[in-house]
Symmetry: C2
Subunit: 230 residues, 2 copies
């Protein structure tokens, strides 16, 4: 009896993920056709995703047209913070669901003027587990980990790091107050994904943000360039 | 078509939660019949749950018989840390599932000698969202939040705090390096649950652990007392 129920649940879950993948592909095609570079920004609650995004916007918005989709369970707190930075922002409230899904992104994208976007950042719900399984239509996933969370986290939550092109190690100014091991972190993260790109940053003391900005500029420029007529 | 699938998913989810609730009730009855005080220990990855648990065990194990169930996605890292403290520990690997469920706890409990347990601590998967919806058979939920995660977290992740009898505000030694607002935190947490008990602690500088230990001793003693024959 219970066995049957579990099988049914697994089937529904598979179905849901397959649906999501199809919708994500459609989102990606739509965004790519508009030459938009799209980031799925991931991390635990409190890793520093929104603060980092504020910094990125401040340094990039005069050169690059940015839009943001903010995923939260209930509040609009983060969207209000981003709105103050003077870029377009769409709030998505999942009403308790622990991750964003591609159908939510489709609806949010429909509200944006895509002709005025070069870089789209989707800030996901704070969650190192569930968010890793749902593609949204992004070009890359960036996972933010703060040093105060501990250097054991890549090994304990491997999927999200394996699925991420970039990891931002944040709150580096607090490193000296923690037992975070850079050696362990770097070894484990490379073991999970050899080609992962790591940026070590601190928003508080403005460290490493420049390298991250340069990387993002380059990604946006590469897309523009490869889409120009010969 | 899609509408139909979503309805089916909602039905399965409801079914799963109803099943879980029944199993949790059976777990609680079994544990209560053995006069065991059971804690569901919750928090984000890196909030400091395992370190806190190590401290609690060191200070309590000579007076109180403790057992631990460690929930992790894949690794046995935390269980190995707890084993070193000299108490019984059962490792549960969810293999990617983002929360513990009551059926997993039933299996783990079957492996423990319940006659030798006064206090059972179930350390859940690091996750502020999904873990909040699954009862395991616990007497109380304790959520650990570290100050480095930010004082906006109770409002952004309300369910887990509403469902928790106790919140432990951890890493207090780092407070001066953050913009965490104690005023906002205390106001928001009381608005979510008026009778919530807050312990402010730091494992690094050994602050506030005594009060927490006293509270746990009292909870265990109350259960023993209320179960003694008149």
């Amino acid at each position: 009896m219970r066995e049957g129920k579990i099988m049914k649940q697994i089937e529904v879950m598979k179905d849901l993920l397959a649906d999501n993948k199809k919708l994500a592909k459609a989102n990606r095609e739509r965004l790519n056709s508009k030459v938009i570079f799209t980031i799925n920004l991931l991390g635990s609650p409190g890793a520093g995703k929104t603060t980092l995004l504020e910094r990125i916007i401040r340094q990039l918005k005069d050169e690059i047209q940015i839009a943001v989709i903010e995923g939260d369970l209930y509040t609009a707190n983060d969207a209000e913070r981003i709105e103050k930075e003077g870029v377009d922002v769409i709030q998505l409230n999942t009403k308790g669901i622990c991750h964003l899904e591609a159908n939510m992104i489709r609806e949010a994208v429909a509200k944006l003027n895509l002709n005025k976007v070069d870089l789209l950042v989707i800030e996901n719900v704070g969650n190192l587990v569930c968010t890793a399984s749902y593609q949204l239509g992004e070009d890359i996933k960036i996972t933010v980990l703060s040093v105060t969370e501990g250097s054991d986290k890549p090994i304990k939550y491997p999927l999200i790091f394996q699925n991420s092109e970039v990891v931002i190690l944040n709150k580096l100014d607090l490193l000296k107050h923690t037992d975070f091991s850079m050696v362990k972190f770097n070894r484990d993260i490379k073991a999970l994904r050899e080609d992962i790109k790591v940026f070590e940053v601190s928003c508080t003391i403005n460290q490493g943000i420049g390298e991250l900005i340069d990387y993002l500029k380059q990604q946006v420029a590469e897309r523009k360039f490869s889409n120009e007529p010969n």
